[in-house]
Amino acid sequence: MADLRINFAGIKSPNPYWLASAPPTNTGYQVQRAFEAGWGGAVWKTLGDPVLNVTSRFGAHHFNGQRVAGFNNIELISDRPIEENLKEIYETKKRFPDRAIIASIMVEPKQAKWHEIVKRVQAVGVDGFELNLGCPHGMSERGMGSAVGQQPDLVEKSTMWAKEAAEVPVITKLTPNITDITATARAAEQGGADAISMINTINSLVGVDLDTWNTIPNVNGKGAHGGYCGPAVKPIALNMIGESARNPHITIPISGIGGVSTWQDTVEFMLMGAGGVQICTAAMHHGFRIIEDLVDGLNNYLDDKGIVSVSDIVGRSVERYTDWSNLDLNHKIVARINTDVCINCNKCHIACEDTSHQCIDMLQDKHGIEYLEVREEDCVGCNLCSIVCPVDGAIDMVEAERLETPMSWNERQTAIQMLEQNIVNS
């Protein structure tokens, strides 16, 4: 049994799984149910000045018969009185002292406002704060959420103001609706954040109804952009985490959010630098009980790899994430089709023929049996065939014979420069 405990920026949790600040953490009843099921922590649905919500609120992107490839919402922060939330936070913490309760908070970017809310919430006893500088809908139109999170100076100031009053760790939650997330991540660190969390939801419109021509979701015939999350956003989140983790100016821990649905996703996020993860959509899709496999699968994975503590994997893939210019131009892989496993659906052929490099031939052996073969000399090793192949093990991407020593674009440019220098000097 591996040690799944984490100590994230000073916040202790029995496992790396926190519920993200969202509908699942709206009430004490819900958070307590989650803790009963085994969740390690919960980021309470954002507290702030009272708001009004609309119906409907959610939409989902379904794909090829599978429900919820992506999920979208236009719900605002908590619409319940702050006193009730605080009372329930107190009760929940009392009942589950070993779990992490982090209060998500959002106010206008004013020092007094931040001081006030931090002190008020802190008084009931929370393990940390998460500053919601990322909510992309509604609140942003009132100068909060992502309207703050898109401006590094406001991110820095808001963080600083919260930190001035906070006696527990402060996590600054960042919006992905920005060109370069490392800019706001650095700003948070400069503001004194103990950690950052990413990503909040992405601006999105999930669909248009083909019969009514209304947006999905719609509120009495009108729609507004929402925040996108769920499995579809995982690669975007993973990149932003990786970019932040490998940035030498960002040294504080990262709480990983965005499409985490399985223990495998969790391992990937942690390898790419997340000190723990936050989950929402997967729980909204299936209920809190998913925590059982999230914990069990992670534990078995770590045991199989002989890893004692989950914290040992944090950031282990970061050094492998770099700029394109550092990739080896002389590395060659090619596709190889295992005809004994191949079921001859010919999807690799048509994908390669129509949309890649025309190097998979449909052939017949001397008995008239059809088979597929890669002309390796023409293969660019793009992976497309193995991506579309429906059968595990039918296509291997194998290393081709190395003809030249490794050289990246940067090394090449440096070498050329040196050569030119030599010519000039000589």
């Binding site: 090829n64 018969g65 079921i343 001859n344 999807k347 052929h349 449909m362 429906p390």
Partner: protein, 457 residues
């Protein structure tokens, strides 16, 4: 003794036994199954379909919610595609060729085809438009799968097509010859309707050779297609065959599709002679008519049986018993002339000297009596020889000889397709093959008689 599964005995409940046995997919099932399809390139299922339906395409259209397009893709290639969705031996054709046989389990192509065509039926879709008319006239004798398919293609090509059908309703085998719990009559009649709405004239209740002469057809048309299929079950050639309680399996099925059900089989012991698909139809119909016990008697073994595997399974699930290596010798009746006993004899299979099929021979002194109330004959089908001879066509025991490419008979103006050309090493007996032959016959006629533009210029 394992009695056949006992359905309820009132006429209303007997009627329920004849409702389609297999439920249709609901939309979630269809979409799940459609999404499982790999959408192969150069797909082997398509290759395996005698009518060459673009299967990946129609399945993709189900997945995308384009059901009209899906039904049209199916019906374009196969004018009796709704019937074939139910009666094709799919595990030997498209589903048997599915690449997923090598990894998980094949796509249920037949069920998906049924889902798409059922949608078109329920939503009263007209999928095709008549082609630009010209003055060429074609007569088609028989409105079964071959005749109907030829008519549909010719109508699309602008021909004036008249179908002559001896029965009161069109559709042939699909309408009358396939048990309603596998293929309800309405499905076949929808396919007929699709064709008639293309301007094809369908003259039902008109028997060529009686109501209209072959010569008249030949005189008034540019070509005649003989798509008359096959006839009744032949005589067993044993004593007592005229007794009351002896049925022809094909007529029995036809009766249930024409007049509904009667209670004459309730609680009866039924022996079905033969082990082809028609025998299974006779047996399962008997079960559903309330028979107490139904046995299939076959003089060879399960190995030689010509019924499809899924038909055999279907019969077993209905509780039908099989008596292999058993042949009928004599039917014995009571004083009212009703059959009461069937004298049988055990058989054994003898290896023929010059290879070929094993020959069944009687085992000496092995005859035994079987108590029966009803005997259903299903030992094959006879041919409409007299009509074939009236057309003066070359044939082999009633199997009309055709040019394999053009479906032209010995009379260049007469073409033939479907069961009328099946047998003696020629053709295929499946509905789907008949449909394809009908299409190919239409194209051959079009190639041979439609004046080309250069000729008319």
């Amino acid at each position: 003794m394992n009695d056949s599964k006992q359905p309820s005995m009132t006429l209303t409940t007997l009627l329920e036994n004849f409702e389609e046995a297999k439920p249709s997919y609901n939309s979630a099932e269809a979409i799940n199954e459609a999404n499982r399809c790999l959408y192969c390139y150069d797909a082997p299922c398509m290759e395996a379909c005698p009518t060459g339906i673009d299967i990946p395409s129609f399945i993709k259209k189900i997945a995308s919610g384009n059901l009209k397009g899906s039904a049209k893709t199916i019906m374009t290639a196969n004018p009796v595609g709704a019937s074939c969705a139910r009666v094709c031996p799919t595990e030997e054709l498209c589903e048997g060729a599915c690449v997923l046989n090598h990894s998980t389990s094949p796509i249920m192509i037949g069920d998906l085809q049924r889902y798409a065509t059922d949608w078109a039926i329920k939503n009263e879709q007209l999928l095709f438009q008549q082609g630009e008319k010209h003055d060429k006239r074609i007569a088609i004798i028989g409105s079964g799968p071959a005749g109907l398919s030829a008519a549909r293609e010719l109508a699309l090509l602008g021909y004036h097509v008249v179908i002559y059908e001896a029965k009161e309703e069109a559709g042939g085998l699909d309408t009358f010859g396939i048990v309603p719990f596998r293929l309800p009559k309405e499905i076949s009649l929808w396919e007929v309707d699709q064709v008639s709405r293309l301007g094809v004239e369908i003259c039902t209740g008109v028997e060529v050779g009686k109501d209209i002469s072959p010569q008249e057809l030949l005189d008034n048309h540019d070509a005649v297609i003989l798509a008359i299929g096959m006839s009744k079950v032949p005589m067993l050639g044993i004593e007592g065959e005229q007794l009351a309680g002896v049925y022809d399996a094909i007529e029995l099925v036809e009766r249930t599709k024409t007049y509904g059900v009667a209670d004459e089989f309730v609680d009866k012991r039924v022996a079905v002679i033969g082990a082809g698909n028609t025998a299974v139809d006779g047996a399962t119909t008997s079960v559903r008519l309330g028979a107490k016990n139904v046995k299939i008697l076959y003089r060879r073994t399960v190995e030689e049986m010509s019924a499809y595997d899924f038909e055999y399974e279907f019969a077993k699930q209905d509780g039908v018993e099989f008596r292999w290596l058993t042949a009928p010798k004599r039917l014995i009746g009571d004083e009212h002339g009703r059959v009461t006993k069937l004298e049988c004899i055990e058989m054994e299979l003898i290896e023929e000297k010059v290879g070929g099929r094993k020959r069944p021979v009687e085992v000496k002194d092995s005859s035994f009596m079987m108590d029966v109330d009803i005997v259903v004959k299903a030992i094959g089908q006879t041919r409409y020889r007299s009509l074939i001879e009236e057309f003066q066509l070359v044939h082999h025991d009633g199997v009309v000889r055709v040019n394999q490419e053009t479906y032209q008979t010995s009379n260049p103006k007469v073409f033939a397709a479907g069961d009328v050309i099946f047998g003696k090493g020629q053709g295929e007996a499946m509905v789907v093959s008949a449909a394809q032959q009908g299409k190919e016959t239409a194209y051959a006629i079009h190639r041979s008689i439609k004046p080309s533009k250069t000729e008319t210029a």
